[in-house]
């Protein structure tokens, strides 16, 4: 039943830019990590940042979320400038973040982890839909959060931000270190979320996985966006891509 509901509401990309990043610079302490990041994300899209380790992809997500203190340039979300906002304010505007290390809390059980992020606006997925997407979680509600397997922890990390009503999700390497069957499940989840109108900014090393879900790609290198193309232009750009990623 819930599955039918999920499939019912296909929302196409409306084309309006929800996120516009211009000349974003960021620092960890004294080290200058981002040297002018430019890209945008339109409503309903899945956009993937690709690049080698240490290129600045994670730092870009963290800068958008406001957890990196020293940042400059412009980040506009829903037509509001957020470069100076604190991360709790940014979350309340409807951006949700799933960090690379997953951030499951060991002093909370699965249910507490799931219910931790406060609802920031109406329209989040109800719990029964979340359990349809991730049936494993329902059976482990009373387990300690960090006792879950890596794949279950990743599902929990995604599940908990779906409740909040945020429509803009940032997922940092959600497939890292997971078995192929679980990667596939996460791929299906992203596709469903997209069909429900969520906008997703993805960071991935796993290019093959990204190509199954993404609408567009940006290449990040040395703290800058150096190229970008749509999924339809993928085959034409394969050679370039191999050079960029060194695969």
């Amino acid at each position: 039943m819930a599955e039918a509901q999920l499939a019912e509401k296909p929302v196409a990309a409306t084309g309006a830019e929800v996120l516009t990043v211009k000349d974003l610079q960021a620092w960890y302490g004294e080290s200058h990590i981002l040297h002018g990041i430019n890209f945008n994300v339109k409503a309903g899209e899945v956009v993937t940042l690709l690049g080698r380790n240490g290129a600045g992809k994670t730092t870009t997500l963290k800068s958008i979320m406001g957890v990196i203190n020293k940042r400059a340039g412009s980040i506009r979300f829903d037509n509001k400038e957020i470069i100076r906002a604190t991360s709790d304010k940014i979350a309340r505007m409807g951006i949700a973040f799933c960090p690379e290390e997953r951030g499951i809390f060991s002093s909370l059980d699965v249910k507490e982890n799931l219910l931790l992020p406060p609802v920031v606006r109406p329209g989040g997925l109800p719990l029964d839909q979340i359990f349809t997407l991730f049936p494993n979680l329902k059976e482990r509600l009373t387990s300690q959060g960090t006792k879950l397997s890596g794949g279950e922890q990743q599902m929990l990390a995604i599940a908990r931000i779906l409740r909040t009503g945020a429509r803009f999700l940032m997922l940092d390497e959600p497939t890292e270190g997971l078995a192929p069957v679980i990667i596939q499940q996460i791929g299906h989840t992203i596709a469903r979320l997209k069909s429900q109108g969520f906008t997703i900014l993805l960071v991935e090393q796993n290019f093959r996985f990204a190509s199954t879900v993404a609408d567009r790609y940006y290449i990040v290198e040395h703290g800058k966006v150096i190229d970008g193309f749509a999924n339809s232009e993928l085959s034409a750009n394969m050679d370039k891509l191999h050079t960029y990623l060194g695969v």
Binding site: V67, T86, S87, D88, A91, G103, E112, L116, P117, P118
Partner: protein
């Protein structure tokens, strides 16, 4: 046997204060990563607020139980906003030195105006007298302190371990950055947590006023033992600090009966043993 029961009761009373104070220290340490040396001075302030309320405002003990923790809690939150918050991310030593300095200043000011001797604070009428339990005579006020402290400790445990607010608190203790990125105003939560811990100390101060009198150095004497309690129990655990607090009070009481010469040192001997065997404390996590 009468004497044994009497010492056990004294032990339980002291244990109540140890539990309330070490509980506050544990909550503050968890959220702020600060070893709050000002805790004893704030406990003393709680007793003084009760004294002022009664003698200047004619406001009785029962209101003092409510008002003193709020007044001292607000004072604590001002300390946190104006000073402690700037120490976030620095070594423990900075917080320890700052709060130690605050304790000395607060105690010095009170000593300047009130000397070192105790001011009387009488037991409220409703709690005067005692009950003969057959095997011993129980002063009502002392029974009240033990039971009320236990209830407050358990309520605090429930708040932290079983409610949504407590889940925020536990999560923010682990990873404040991520909790903030979920939309929770973590700095405000830290301030309120400090207020809560300090309020518990002030509440203990009010409870102790009729038993121990109101003295500027009442906290300075107590806090050293409380830190030993915290070291034994371990910093990380809420229930651990409650149980350790009561248990060590009782152990002290028993020592007073069986070997009075060691009653002032037994807690510190235990602390040394625990530090040698299990440096994180009996229930503590690795720091």
């Amino acid at each position: 046997m009468q004497a044994l029961y009497a010492q056990l009761l004294v032990g339980l009373i002291n244990g109540s204060f140890y539990a309330l104070l070490s509980l506050g220290l544990a909550v503050i340490f968890g959220m702020l990563n600060i070893i709050n040396f000002a805790h004893g001075a704030l406990y003393m302030m709680g007793a003084f607020v009760a004294y002022f309320l009664l003698n200047l405002g004619g406001i009785n003990y029962w209101w003092a139980l409510l008002i003193a923790p709020i007044v001292v809690g607000v004072f604590g939150m001002i300390l946190e906003r104006t000073m402690l918050q700037w120490l976030a991310g620095l070594d423990h030593l900075y917080g320890l030195l700052l709060t130690f300095g605050i304790a000395l200043i607060v105690q010095g000011v009170f000593q300047n105006y009130f000397g070192s001797s105790g001011l009387p604070y009488s037991i409220p009428d409703q709690l005067k007298g005692g009950v003969n339990l057959g095997f011993m005579f129980l002063p009502v006020y002392r029974g009240w302190v033990v039971i009320f402290s236990l209830v407050v400790c358990l309520a605090t445990w429930f708040l932290i371990e079983k409610t949504q607010l407590g889940a925020y608190l536990r999560a923010a203790t682990e990873n404040p950055t991520l909790v903030r990125a979920f939309g929770i105003n973590v700095p405000r939560m830290i301030t309120l947590t400090y207020g809560l811990g300090v309020g518990l100390a002030a509440l203990a101060g009010v409870l102790s006023a009729p038993i121990n009198q109101v003295r500027p150095l009442m906290g300075a004497d107590l806090i050293i033992v409380v830190f030993a309690v915290v070291v034994i129990g371990g910093m990380g655990s809420i229930m651990g600090s409650i149980i350790t607090g009561f248990a060590l009070g009782v152990i002290e009481g028993l020592t007073k009966y069986f070997y009075p010469e060691a009653s002032n040192t037994v807690v510190f001997v235990l602390m040394v043993v625990v530090l040698l065997v299990k440096p994180t404390g009996l229930t503590g996590r690795a720091a």
